[in-house]
C-alpha cells in the first residue's frame, strides 16, 4: 500500500502539535538512566530539606543517645529493679544519668561552668573550634564534590597522604620559619589533591565510579602510610620501632591563636579562609559555575561546551586539596608530636556527615563542623567524667544524618507539614544557595 498524501494532514490542517504546558514526561526506566542522574536526584533530596528538619533530626538523635545512656547506666539499672514499688527512683536515675552526661557534654563543648573565670569558661568552646578545624576543611571537600555530583568517600585516604606529605616536610626538611609552613602546607594540600585526583582521573578516563575508587584508595593509602611509618628512612622516627613519625620541627608548627592555654591554632584561620574561598569559587567563578553545571546536569554541561571529564578531575583535585588542608592542619597544628596511621581519626567519614548536615553549602558546612566539633570536644569530657564512651558521639552523628536524609520521617515524628505532593513533572527544586 502506499503512504497516502494525508498521512499527517495537509499543510492547511493541523499537524500533531503539542499544546499542553507540561513538558512531555519521559517515564523512568525507558533508557538505562545514566549514573549521574540518579546520584544528583538523590543528593538533591538530601540537601534540600528545610532547617526545621535539621533541627528535628538533631533532637531525635540526641533523644536516641539519651536512651542509650539511660539503659547502660548502673544507677538506672539498679533503680529499675524495683521500678514498680518506687518508679520515681528510676526516673530520677534516668534524669541524673542523662542530665549528667549532657551537662558534661556541654561543659566540655561550650562553656565550663565550673571554671573560675571567663578565660577558663570559654576554654571548651575553643577546644570545640579546634576539633572543628579539620572537619571544616574535610567537610568542604566532600560538599564541593557533592555540588559537582560526585561522592567523595575518600576523605580518610586523602587526609592520610596529606598528613604524610606535610608531616614529612614538617620534620624532615630544614627551612626557615614561615617558608617551612608554606612548603609543608603546599605539600600536604597537593598530596590530598593528587590522591583524590586519581579517583577523578579514573572516573574521567574510564567511568569508574568514584564511590568505589575512593573507598579502595582509602585502604591503599592506609597500607601505604602504614608501610612508610614502619620503614626507617621514610616516615618512622629514627631509633624507634614504633610506627610513628618524629615530632614536627618548631619552624613549621602553626602558632596558637589565643595564647598557649587554648589549643586553637592558625589552622582554624586557614579553614575559615577556605570557607570563603569555596563560597566565592562556587558562586562567583567560572570554575564553580562549571562544577555546579556538571553537578546538576552533566549532559547539558557537555552540550554547552563544558569539558565534563576535565571538570570532574578539577573538582576532585580541589576537593582533595581541601581535605588535604584538614590533614595538614592536623599534623602541623594539633598533633605536632608525631603521628601514626590513625591521624585521620575518622574525620574523613565525619566529613560526609558534616557536608550532608551543612547541605553542601560552605557556610552550612562551617556550622555543621562546629556542631560536630563540639560533640567531639564534649564527648571526651563526657567519657572522662561520666564514663559514657565517646562512641556515643558516632551514634548521634550518624543518626542525625540518617534523619536528615529522610525528611518525611522527621516531619512525621514532629507533625511538621509534609510538602504538598507535586505534579508528576520532574520537580526540580531551587538550588540550595547560601546568599552571602
Amino acid at each position: 500500500m502506499s503512504v497516502d498524501d494525508s498521512q499527517l494532514g495537509g499543510t492547511s490542517v493541523a499537524a500533531p502539535q503539542h499544546v499542553g504546558d507540561e513538558p512531555p514526561v519521559r517515564p523512568a526506566g525507558t533508557k538505562a538512566p545514566d549514573d549521574g542522574d540518579r546520584w544528583r536526584e538523590a543528593l538533591r533530596r538530601v540537601t534540600s530539606g528545610g532547617w526545621a528538619v535539621s533541627l528535628g533530626a538533631v533532637v531525635l538523635a540526641v533523644l536516641a543517645g539519651s536512651v542509650m545512656i539511660a539503659v547502660t547506666d548502673k544507677g538506672v539499672q539498679d533503680a529499675s529493679g524495683y521500678f514498680f514499688s518506687r518508679p520515681q527512683d528510676t526516673f530520677s536515675a534516668i534524669g541524673s544519668a542523662v542530665g549528667g552526661a549532657y551537662a558534661a557534654l556541654f561543659r566540655g563543648a561550650v562553656w565550663d561552668f565550673r571554671a573560675d573565670d571567663f578565660a577558663g569558661g570559654i576554654k571548651p568552646f575553643m577546644s570545640s573550634l579546634n576539633f572543628a578545624t579539620p572537619l571544616i576543611g574535610a567537610g568542604l571537600g566532600v560538599a564541593l564534590a557533592f555540588r559537582a555530583g560526585l561522592f567523595n568517600i575518600g576523605g580518610r585516604g586523602q587526609m592520610l597522604v596529606a598528613a604524610a606529605a606535610a608531616g614529612w616536610v614538617g620534620f624532615g626538611v630544614d627551612l626557615p620559619i614561615v617558608l617551612h609552613l608554606v612548603v609543608a602546607m603546599t605539600a600536604g594540600i597537593a598530596a590530598g589533591a593528587i590522591w583524590s585526583g586519581i579517583a577523578g582521573l579514573l572516573k574521567a578516563a574510564t567511568g569508574a565510579h568514584e564511590v568505589i575508587t575512593t573507598i579502595m584508595l582509602n585502604y591503599v593509602a592506609f597500607y601505604l602510610i602504614s608501610y612508610m611509618l614502619a620503614t626507617p628512612g621514610l616516615l618512622q622516627a629514627p631509633g624507634s620501632s614504633n610506627p610513628k613519625t618524629p615530632p614536627m620541627a618548631d619552624t613549621v608548627i602553626m602558632p596558637r591563636l589565643l595564647g598557649a592555654q587554648y589549643k586553637l591554632n592558625l589552622g582554624f584561620v586557614f579553614a575559615l579562609v577556605a570557607v570563603v574561598l569555596v563560597w566565592w569559587l562556587l558562586n562567583r567563578s567560572r570554575l564553580g559555575f562549571a562544577f555546579r553545571a556538571v553537578g546538576e546536569n552533566p549532559d547539558a554541561a557537555r552540550v554547552a561546551g563544558i569539558d565534563v571529564r576535565r571538570t570532574t578531575v578539577s573538582v576532585m583535585l580541589v576537593a582533595g586539596g581541601l581535605i588535604g588542608l584538614a590533614g595538614t592542619t592536623q599534623v602541623l597544628g594539633t598533633v605536632t608530636t608525631g603521628f601514626s596511621s590513625d591521624i585521620d581519626a575518622g574525620i574523613g567519614f565525619d566529613a560526609i556527615t558534616v557536608a550532608l548536615l551543612g547541605r553542601s553549602t560552605p557556610f552550612g558546612v562551617l556550622a555543621a563542623a562546629i556542631l560536630f566539633g563540639a560533640f567531639k570536644a564534649g564527648g571526651s569530657v563526657m567519657q572522662a567524667s561520666e564514663n559514657v564512651p565517646i562512641e556515643i558521639v558516632l551514634v548521634i552523628q550518624s543518626l542525625i544524618v540518617l534523619f536528615i536524609a529522610a525528611p518525611p520521617l522527621v516531619r512525621a515524628v514532629f507533625h511538621l507539614p509534609q510538602p504538598g505532593a507535586r505534579p508528576k513533572k520532574r520537580a526540580r527544586r531551587q538550588p540550595k544557595e547560601v546568599a552571602a
Binding site: 502506499s2 498521512q7 499527517l8 554541561a301 527544586r429
Partner: protein, 506 residues
C-alpha cells in the same frame, strides 16, 4: 470482554490529567483514543492498567466494577498493555521476558523455560512471524521488541489490549504490519484500545474514535471523518502550519559533510557514509523515523558523538571533525538539542544562568575566570524581553518554566551568538502552538541572515514547512535529498528506506 471507564478523574497536584473521562470498548472492536501529546491519554491507560489509582470514577469489565491495586490485578482480570516505552528487561531473553511475573516452575522451584519457549513459538506462529525465544531482547530491533510485548500480553490471555502510541518508533511498513496484527486480534474477539496522535492510523483501523483534549473527552468521531475534522477536534482550533518564508538567497558560507560515519562502542555503524552540503541562507531538514541516525548525525556535527567519527565536516572550509564541543561552538555553531531538559538546560539553574550556559569561556560574561553578574543579568533581562520568555524573573529556576518557554531560553541563548551555522534538532517538540510559530520565525530569520541551517525533524509537516530541501535518513544512511515540494507519499516511502526512484517493495 467489554471494557468500560466511567467518569475517571485523575489529578496530579493542581493539574487535572483526566477530567471525568468515560469510554466504552466492546469486544471485537478497535476503539481509538486520539489526542495530542500531553492530552492525558497515557494517564488514562495507566489508571486502567492499575499503575495509577483514579481519584474518582471506576473501571468496569463486563459490567463488573474492578478495583486494581496494581498491574498484576489488571492483568489477572484480562487486560494487557503494549507500552509506548517497552517494558522489557533488556538483558533477559525473549522467553524470560514473556514468562516474567507469570512463571511456571518445575520440581525444586526451577523455572520452566521450555514451557515459556513453547508459548512464544505458539503465539508467534499464530500471527505468522517468528521470534527466537532465546535471543536477548536488547539485541533485537524495535519492531521485534514490540512483538514481544504483544506476545507477553497474549501469553496472559488478555481479552482487552491497550496499544499506547505503538507506532512512534516504527517505519511505515512495520506500522502496516502492526495494523494487520491488530485486525487479527480484533477478529479473535479482543477489545482493543489504540492510543495515537496520528490521523492516518486512526482512520485506517478504528471502529470508533474518542478525541481527548486537555484531559477531557471533546467528542466522538467516526472513522469516516476527514483529517481536518479530526485535527480540529484534537487541537481545538484549526492551526495553520505554514511558515512565511521567501526564496532562499544564498550566501557564500557553507557546511560540507562528506563520508561521515559514526560507529558506537559495540561496532554498530549508526551514521553510515552520509554526505550533504548546506549553503548559507538555506534550511536543510533531516527527516526520517525516529532512531535512524539523526540524533547521532547532529551529535557528530557539534562534536558530541559518543562513538568514533570518521569522514569530514567542513564549515566554510574549516574541518570540525575531531574538535571539542567548545572548539566547535567557538567556530560559531549554534545548537538546539533535541531534548532540552536533558541536554539544553540545567533545570535547577536560573534563567539568567542558563542564558550564559555555553558562554562562560570568554568575555563578556566571564573575565579572568570571574563571572560578570551585572552583564549577565542585563543580557538576561534583554533576552527575556526579546524572545518573549514568560518567567517570574531572571532568577527563576528554568525547570519551573513551561516547555515552550524553556525552549525559548535555549533558542535565545543560541541565536544571541554570532552564528555561522545553526543546528536545530526537533526544535518544536513538546512546545505549545504559539511558541512553535515564534521559534519557526526565528529559525527562518537566521536563514535569511545568510546562515546555513540544519533542522532535524520527525514531523513531516515541520519538515515540509521549514525546509528548502529535505534529506531523508534510514538506518543511518541517506535515502535521498529532495526538494521540499516533493509529494508526501514519496517522502513516506523514503522514510521506509525506499528511494524516490524505486519500485515499491511487496
Amino acid at each position: 470482554m467489554k471494557l468500560e471507564l466511567r467518569d475517571i478523574t485523575k489529578r496530579f497536584g493542581s493539574l487535572v490529567a483526566n477530567d471525568h473521562i468515560s469510554i466504552t470498548v466492546e469486544p471485537g472492536e478497535i476503539h481509538c483514543l486520539l489526542g495530542e501529546n500531553g492530552a492525558g491519554k497515557s494517564t488514562l491507560m495507566n489508571v486502567l492498567y492499575g499503575l495509577y489509582t483514579a481519584d474518582e470514577g471506576e473501571v468496569l469489565l463486563d459490567d463488573v466494577v474492578q478495583h486494581f491495586r496494581g498491574p498484576g490485578d489488571a492483568m489477572a482480570a484480562g487486560i494487557g498493555m503494549v507500552h509506548q516505552h517497552f517494558m522489557l528487561i533488556p538483558v533477559f531473553t525473549v522467553a524470560e521476558n514473556v514468562m516474567l511475573g507469570n512463571e511456571q516452575t518445575r520440581s525444586g522451584g526451577r523455572l520452566d523455560l521450555e514451557a515459556a519457549r513453547a508459548k512464544v513459538n505458539d503465539i508467534a506462529s499464530r500471527f505468522g512471524f517468528h521470534v527466537d525465544p532465546d535471543a536477548v531482547v536488547e539485541d533485537l530491533p524495535v519492531g521485534v521488541q514490540q512483538r514481544i510485548e504483544i506476545i507477553k500480553a497474549l501469553s496472559r490471555d488478555a481479552k482487552v489490549l491497550i496499544f499506547d502510541e505503538p507506532t512512534a518508533v516504527l517505519t511505515p511498513q512495520e506500522t502496516d504490519e502492526l495494523m494487520g496484527i491488530m485486525r487479527q486480534l480484533k477478529e479473535s474477539g479482543a477489545a482493543i484500545v489504540f492510543i495515537t496522535h496520528k490521523l492516518r492510523e486512526v482512520r485506517e483501523v478504528a471502529d470508533r474514535i474518542t478525541v481527548i483534549r486537555r484531559g477531557a473527552v471533546v467528542g466522538e468521531a467516526s472513522p469516516t471523518s476527514t483529517d481536518a475534522e479530526l485535527a480540529a477536534m484534537m487541537v481545538g482550533r484549526a492551526v495553520e502550519l505554514t511558515v512565511q518564508k521567501g526564496e532562499p538567497t544564498y550566501a557564500p558560507s557553507s557546511l560540507e559533510v562528506t563520508g561521515l560515519e559514526v560507529t558506537d562502542a559495540r561496532g554498530a555503524v549508526l551514521v553510515d557514509d552520509v554526505s550533504f552540503t548546506v549553503r548559507g541562507g538555506e534550511v536543510l531538514v533531516v527527516a526520517g523515523v525516529q532512531g535512524n541516525g539523526q540524533t547521532e548525525l547532529t551529535e557528530a556535527l557539534v562534536g558530541l558523538a559518543a562513538g568514533t567519527v570518521a569522514g569530514s565536516i567542513r564549515l566554510d572550509g574549516t574541518e570540525l571533525v575531531g574538535r571539542s564541543v567548545r572548539g566547535i561552538l567557538d567556530e560559531g555553531v549554534g545548537f538546539i538539542p533535541e531534548d532540552r531538559s536533558t541536554d539544553g538546560l540545567v533545570g535547577a539553574f536560573s534563567v539568567a544562568e542558563n542564558l550564559i550556559l555555553d558562554r562562560t569561556n570568554a568575555p563578556p560574561f566571564v573575565r579572568r575566570g570571574v563571572l560578570q553578574l551585572g552583564l549577565r543579568d542585563e543580557f538576561a533581562t534583554r533576552s527575556v524581553e526579546e524572545f518573549d520568555i514568560r518567567t517570574q524573573g531572571i532568577d527563576e529556576p528554568v525547570g519551573q518554566l513551561s516547555g515552550g518557554n524553556q525552549q525559548k531560553v535555549v533558542v535565545a541563548r543560541e541565536l544571541s551568538r554570532d552564528l555561522r551555522l545553526l543546528v536545530a534538532a526537533q526544535p518544536t517538540r513538546g512546545v505549545d502552538v504559539g511558541s512553535i510559530e515564534f521559534i519557526h520565525k526565528r529559525i527562518i530569520a537566521t536563514r535569511d541572515a545568510g546562515v546555513p541551517v540544519v533542522v532535524v525533524s520527525t514531523e513531516l509537516d515541520e519538515a515540509v514547512a521549514l525546509g528548502d530541501r529535505i534529506l531523508v535518513m534510514y538506518r543511518g544512511r541517506v535515502v535521498g535529498i529532495v526538494p521540499a515540494d516533493t509529494p508526501r507519499d514519496v517522502l513516506g516511502l523514503m522514510m521506509a528506506g525506499i528511494p524516490a526512484h524505486g519500485t515499491e517493495a511487496a
